[in-house]
């Protein structure tokens, strides 16, 4: 296990909702990352994020860890949910609300 994969395993175990993104939630550095932040904020989901642009090892490591070549990547309760397209699609169909609620995640903006 590389250092990056150890860190990722720890992050996704300790944080119910963990987003790997470019930039920060306040200053996303990529439209795809911004879109996922927007969806999570819209639902009122508390999440932790990691900026892959600050750490080249993490940037490569998360791609290998998830077997997924692009950023952003969302983990919920240790499970890889998907990238921007999947999150947007699940949000638009209402599936994301249900998925998160089933996982025991609090949605502050959803009844």
């Amino acid at each position: 296990m590389s250092q990056a994969s150890d860190q990722i395993a720890k992050d996704i175990a300790e944080n119910d909702v963990m987003l790997y993104m470019k930039g920060t939630p306040v200053f996303p550095q990529c439209g795809f990352s911004a879109a996922v932040v927007h969806v999570l904020s819209e639902l009122g989901v508390k999440f932790k994020s990691a900026d892959v642009l600050k750490d080249p090892e993490l940037r490569q490591g998360i791609k290998e860890f998830s077997n997924w070549p692009t950023i952003p990547q969302l983990y919920v309760k240790g499970e890889f949910v998907g990238g921007c397209d999947i999150i947007k699609e699940m949000f638009e169909s209402g599936e994301l609300d249900t998925f998160l609620k089933d996982k025991g995640i609090t949605l502050e903006n959803v009844q």
């Binding site: 990529c30 439209g31 795809f32 997924w68 998907g82």
Partner: protein, 97 residues
């Protein structure tokens, strides 16, 4: 058959072979992303892809897109920055429209 010349043509050929899609749309959106860190000179960095294929039945969204990404691995290594993916079965596509 001549060798594929553009990234879109190359992706199209791979997706056609792998998925036997009933619908395959590949749009080069690189121009929208010009100046962005993932963009490159000459474009061909950002694509929107819609694939409707019966071969996706029974697969999760993540599994479907992993298959698409696996096919595009060479292009990604060569500078393809983003694929905006929609991966549907014919039944799902019918429900959408």
């Amino acid at each position: 058959m001549t060798a594929p010349r553009t990234v879109a043509e190359s992706l199209r050929a791979k997706f056609e072979t792998a998925f036997g899609p009933v619908e395959l749309v590949i749009v080069d959106e690189s121009a929208h992303h010009a100046g962005h860190s993932g963009a490159r000179d000459g474009g061909q960095s950002h694509f929107r892809v819609r694939i409707v294929s019966a071969s996706f039945a029974g697969l999760s969204r993540v599994e479907r897109q992993r298959r698409v990404y696996a096919l595009a691995a060479e292009e990604i290594a060569a500078g393809l920055h983003a694929l905006a993916l929609t991966t549907l079965t014919p039944e799902e596509a019918a429900k959408q429209s």
